[in-house]
Amino acid sequence: MAVEQPLTTPAGDQTRIHDIGYRGYDGPRLGRAYARLSLYSQSLRGAYGLGRSAKSKVLPMLLFTVMCVPAAIMVAVAVATKAHELPVAYTRYAIMMQAVISLYVAAQAPQAVSRDLRFKTVPLYFSRPIETADYVRAKFASLASAIFILTAAPLLVMYVGALLSKLGFAHQTKEFAEGLVSVALLSLLFAGIGLVIAAVTPRRGFGIAAVIAVLIISYGAVSTLQAIADVQNHTSAIPWIGLFSPVTLIDGVQSAFLGATARNPGAINPSSGQGVLYVLVVLGLIAGSYGLLMRRYKKVGL
């Protein structure tokens, strides 16, 4: 309502303040939880390029297809040959496709956080009701969910296929559940590592390369060392070496507790003591990356 306010101005002075009708917001305040949820869902959509340009959909969708097609082929083979077991165990699938998962993390972790840092939009987020912990949790949860979708979808394909070809409901369900636990751990671990590295490098290219270096190269190096230890008959060293790369960490956890066979050269399963250590290291890394992210965003751009 534009109402002229009579202002006490000195005579002859034409300056005055007009009320041009700005009104305060008196609708519902959705608050912190809603803002966090929005940030989570937008980041999750962004991780698959939804709501972004067609170009940025290509890579995540391509990697998603690459993840699912072998699973579909396996199901087809199992049905055609009337096998009593799927050709690849649920727990083994993610380890087999580790290069694709690593590429996905490397491509999407920097896109989740690096651009906010580079274009200095982080302070804008914090001008909303959310706080550091909300931002970190939303980004962490969205990337972990995105990786979980990527890794669990092929398992679901295999499970449905196995049920349709009547491979034994109880047995398949148990193995499928074990596979899901393993990929859930993998998603959290990879998301944590990817985000910590990406949050340090505002430049996308370097973030991608650094994530790849940590995920794939460490796996390559560890596998090489394990192969040599196997050839030299130092088989007891193999599980210890496996502690030094994310992929073999997950492999160790699931071969100790989730009924998988270790994928390392010589197929040495860690003992239960080593298995506990594996779990502790995985959980420690997840908690550690969360802590590092919190520290990183405590002062960023503010």
């Binding site: 890579l59 290069a99 590429l103 290219g205 390369a209 270096a213």
Partner: protein
Amino acid sequence: MYDPTVARLTYRALLGRRRALILGALPLLLIVLSVAVRALTGADDQTAADVLGGFAIATMVPIIGVIAGTGAIGPEIDDGSVVYLLSKPLKRPAIIFTKLIVAIAVTMVFSAVPTLIAGLILNGNGQQIAVAYTVAALVSSIAYSALFLLLGTVSRHAVVFGLVYALVWEALFGSLVPGARTLSVQQWSLAVAHKIAGGDLVTSQVSLTTATVLLVVVTVLATWYAGQKLRTLKLAGEE
């Protein structure tokens, strides 16, 4: 063709601040790995060839090539600061050529030198293995830099596509589809290494002549086309 100022800027973009650490981490890992292997197995020619071929040439050189090749131009195009460079009275192919030289130099320093050191640690250059793989690293540095520099001018997702080529095409398809090995920088450089090492420890899928011709053709073509791309570069907004 070579412009010292552009070169200096590119060196700074590649090695400035903490970026040299990323580039330095891989060679360090290779050397740590070879010390560990030497301690575990002692000097063994076959093991040395496995480590150098499997880790240094197959993984480390392409990744350093990707970082240096795309890093030489990608970030500048990405954040738009390349306009300041392009608005200077310099021929665009000259800019590409200079950046290529810098990328090659960085890749060589960070890949060939550690390969040589690792080879010396592993078996003290027995049967010329260290030298052979070092030459392979040098040769592939040139081709990788040219290829990935081109990728950097073509796509905003150059690093990802470069890594897909280096890791998926060369490692995965190369081991499944024999034909893919003929079209692989790694195999071309191994052909050169094979010539030097003699014996059967270093093997390649392609003959030396094919390898040399393909290496030269790819490098020259990629550089020329990158120059053309830069001449007609459109600066699009962020996605």
